[in-house]
């Protein structure tokens, strides 16, 4: 009993936390190669050598930072990603955090991520990091709103806020088909929340690295790991909410979850290479005037479908 409820789920969470970011880096390398970008090293080795390089680099200092917040922000972001991964049900029995409101707890992870990203940029006490932090906060609210509406949509047919029930409600038809707007919107939120590809506005090159402009060494390694781990957690929630989680023929549940997560990560890695970064002003307009109304449409669709 303790094996099913605690040991296996926790092992899977830690495995996803360690292997997930590595796989994402490999997939990102493959996506770059598919666009013809030459790489000096093999895509399998280069994430490891970059990690080793950051680990041995000296840690940068700024003038009078908020030491506690500056040192803790990357670790806090990583722990939020771990909380997100703990909510993913690997099978009907194997859930690390099986509470009745796991969907709402994921919403809290997204909201608290905004605070942590702001702290990362603010606490360094330098100009460009602060601009990155303010930029993320200004945009983050719209990301969270879109994500909330989309997730309320998947809670409707499940008649529950527990992710295990959300998976169970997809026995006949996965939500990706039942609510066709849901997954695309959720994937956009995922890229925005971890500021990758077209939505990399907090740590972007126009701010010389944004919130992590003055961060180096192991601290930077943890920050990059946390960003990747958050996207891995995101792919876990997307798998659970839209792709039927552990449901699937032949293979055992946890393997299905892992395969679907990898597929989502591959798609996200390709998307973040395929599209150029948009300007912050256009991103605000896109979020509030296009994607948020689409999230409303998704919710109305889900409600009408639940009534019929």
């Amino acid at each position: 009993m303790i094996l099913d409820q605690l040991i296996w789920p926790l092992l899977l969470v830690f495995a996803a936390l360690v292997l997930g970011p590595y796989w994402l880096a490999v997939l990102d390398g493959l996506a770059a190669r598919s666009f013809g970008l030459a790489q000096a090293q093999s895509v399998w080795i280069s994430p490891l050598s970059r990690g080793a390089w950051l680990l041995t680099q000296q840690t940068n200092m700024t003038e009078a930072p908020d030491w506690w917040a500056w040192r803790l922000a990357p670790a806090l972001y990583l722990s939020l990603a771990a909380i997100g991964l703990a909510l993913v049900p690997w099978s009907r029995e194997w859930v690390a955090t099986d509470i009745a409101t796991s969907l709402v707890l994921w919403g809290s992870v997204e909201a608290l991520a905004t605070v942590v990203i702001f702290l990362q940029g603010w606490s360094a006490n330098t100009l460009l990091t602060l601009i990155g932090a303010y930029r993320y906060v200004a945009l983050g609210l719209s990301y969270i709103l879109i994500s909330m509406f989309v997730l309320i949509g998947v809670a409707l047919p499940a008649e529950s806020l527990a992710l295990t029930q959300v998976v169970a409600s997809q026995q006949e038809l996965w939500n990706v088909l039942r609510q066709p707007l849901g997954l695309p919107l959720f994937l956009i939120v995922g890229l925005a929340l971890t500021f990758r590809g077209p939505f990399n506005l907090a740590d972007s090159t126009d701010l010389a690295g944004g919130t992590s402009a003055d961060v180096s060494g192991p601290q930077r390694l943890v920050w990059e790991l946390a960003r990747s781990a958050m996207l891995v957690a995101f792919s876990g929630i997307a798998t659970t909410a839209f792709l039927g989680g552990w449901l699937g023929p032949w293979l055992p549940g946890p393997l299905w979850v892992a395969l679907k997560m990898l597929a989502v990560l591959a798609l996200l890695a390709w998307l973040s290479r395929a599209f150029a970064r948009i300007t912050p002003e256009r991103c605000v307009s896109l979020m509030w005037t296009v994607l948020l109304p689409l999230a409303f449409v998704d919710l109305i669709w889900a409600g009408a479908e639940a009534l019929l």
Binding site: A100, N125, I144, W288
Partner: protein
């Protein structure tokens, strides 16, 4: 028995953490730090609510306070002209009054907690806190919550319409002029273009 001891220990730790971080709110020297200490305090209170089996309200506390404190920190820094809130500043004013009010409210609340007799009602078997909360929100209290919800939604849409790049009166970047210093006067800070100057700078020798 074991579970209840564990719950008691966690409750005491969380309560102490909530009080400590609440005290730090007033002792720190930056508005951003004060907001996030308050957030930590509220997170501890939310975790205590989870211990009390308020599964939805406890988790809702996390995201509500997360966004709320973030927005509060952002606006305080924006309006108070303290660069990024990192300049040390005194977080309290009217010392005597606030110390008096603090002691008075602590004594009153503490006395209520210690002297009041609380009903001893264990959770009924098979209670589902989330769905019973939902029935309450969409049952007797529906009018209050729905009218509040519609007002908030209308406010959000209004803010987006007013602050969007393309508002009701066309693009926000076109033809916008600062108001004059006196009623009907020329736009402030935009002197008439001088034709002779030819766009160059005036140098006074």
């Amino acid at each position: 028995m074991n579970t209840s001891l564990f719950v008691d220990i966690v409750f005491i730790l969380l309560a102490l953490f909530a009080v400590y971080t609440g005290w730090r709110v007033f002792r720190t020297d930056s508005m951003v730090r004060a907001s996030f200490f308050l957030l930590l305090s509220f997170i501890a209170v939310g975790a205590i609510m989870l211990l009390l089996s308020a599964m939805y309200l406890g988790v809702a506390m996390f995201f509500m306070m997360g966004v709320e404190m973030m927005v509060m920190a952002l606006f305080m820094v924006m309006f108070m002209m303290n660069p990024a809130g990192l300049n040390p500043m005194m977080m309290v004013h009217q010392h005597r009054l606030s110390i008096g009010a603090g002691i008075a409210s602590f004594v009153i609340l503490g006395a209520m907690a210690l002297l009041a007799t609380f009903p001893d009602r264990p959770l009924p078997e098979g209670l589902e806190p989330v769905s019973s909360l939902g029935h309450e929100l969409l049952g007797d209290s529906m009018l209050i919550f729905e009218s509040a919800g519609v007002v908030l939604l209308a406010t959000m849409i209004g803010v987006v319409v007013l602050s969007g790049q393309r508002g009701r009166f066309g693009s926000a970047q076109e033809g916008s002029m600062p108001p004059g210093l006196e009623p009907g006067g020329d736009p402030a800070g935009m002197p008439q273009e001088d034709d002779e100057a030819g766009g160059g700078h005036h140098h006074c020798h």
